[in-house]
Symmetry: C2
Subunit: 242 residues, 2 copies
């Protein structure tokens, strides 16, 4: 029941400056959970080569997979391809198959590829291309590092093509028990159920509504029957058994 471990690197000044609210992390987290791949860590870094290199090298050795988002477009601030190449100690260059993938999305093919667009066909040596059905410019994988676009529509399409090709584990089972009590009133009972099911992970997530505090109690684990039993134990304890 081993589940591969993964990390993500979100590359982009626009996230750190508050201009844009990242959407790719949440999307990837959901896809990986369904595929049985554990997302363990995310780093958001600026469009700065050294920061990208450090993050790639810190994470690619620590996790089975690293997914990146952003910085593979045609402009001067798109530096992910050369940064990933540097992290692996290889060169980046324009490759014929990447050019073909890109050119196929323009009416006049390669004739439409100006110098800026040609940047989008640069990939590190030894990379495998990731398809981009939206705008052609491919992503790529180098060993266990998967490099994708930042535009959510393109990121999602790349993820949809890539993730099914990775070997995942069993999907993580989960159940949510929602209750209109503050976390401080459910903590002791929750802790008791957590101790009774040591193989499961029980979390509590408080919320605030106009009518008061409430808590979502989330049970997660490998075995669906155990997850169901623990969730039912919580419902019984709080008098909301179905």
């Amino acid at each position: 029941m081993a589940r591969p471990a993964a990390a993500m690197i979100v590359i982009g000044d626009e996230i750190l400056s508050g201009r844009t609210r990242d959407a790719n992390m949440h999307h990837l987290a959901g896809v990986l959970a369904a595929a049985g791949i554990d997302l363990r860590e995310v780093r958001v870094v600026a469009d700065v080569k050294q920061q990208i290199v450090v993050a790639v090298n810190a994470l690619r050795g620590a996790y089975d997979h690293v997914f990146t988002s952003g910085g593979i477009g045609p402009t001067h601030d798109d530096i992910t391809a050369e940064s990933v190449a540097e992290a692996f100690g290889v060169a980046a260059g324009i490759r014929e198959d990447a050019l073909d993938a890109l050119a196929a999305h323009y009416p006049n093919g390669r004739d439409d590829l100006n110098e800026s667009r040609l940047r989008m066909a640069r990939v590190p040596e030894g990379a495998r291309l990731i398809k981009n059905p939206v705008s052609g410019a491919p992503g790529f994988s180098v060993e266990n590092v998967h490099v994708m676009a930042g535009v959510p529509k393109i990121f999602n399409a790349m993820v949809a093509g890539l993730v099914p090709e990775l070997n995942g584990g069993p999907p993580i089972m989960s159940e949510n028990v929602r209750i209109n009590l503050p976390e401080g009133d459910v903590a002791e009972t929750l802790c008791g159920v957590a101790e009774a099911y040591p193989e499961l992970s029980l979390g509590s997530y408080p919320f605030v509504t106009p009518s008061g505090f409430g808590t979502n109690m989330v049970v997660r684990g490998d075995a669906g029957d155990q997850v169901a039993a623990a969730a039912q134990a919580l419902r019984v304890a709080f008098g909301i058994a179905q």
Copy 2:
């Protein structure tokens, strides 16, 4: 015009599992930009003590401020206080002023504080409290690490109290020029303007709409007049001058 540099640590399995979409990073990024504090890096880590300790110690030496979000509630999976204490090599314990802040939010004061709730008054030795006007349970700062709640309404309230007390730099000025052209058609001009204004940061952020591709070109920098001039240069170059 020195601007302090900051990092953030988002603590929470629920973000990494895809259950919850984080909102605190985007909120903090906007508040810090307005306060003249540069957010340079964000890490999202699981509710695992060792991960929190490693992230706190990696970032607190590298940046002027570190802000954390999540894991300071009353349940067994709320381990941020002891993790931050461990990162600093100090003990964590229940403190009278934290108890007072917490008790003030319950109808019967301290009599309402069961064992679980008492956990919310535990802070590392030497910490300064951060006010929580929503639910009482305080956040805290240890040296340059500011520890806040994960519930967005509470996180935002704590940020509102904390950030004005930090010494920021001048706010970063920015202008956005939106154009209905794909990034590959604006890259060369954008790069030329970037070279003409070496003190500014020019970024481009492509988007996809049903009617085609477009690009937001964002000019950022310290000097408002330079930012305005560069933005105008872009508008003139693309024939959309106002």
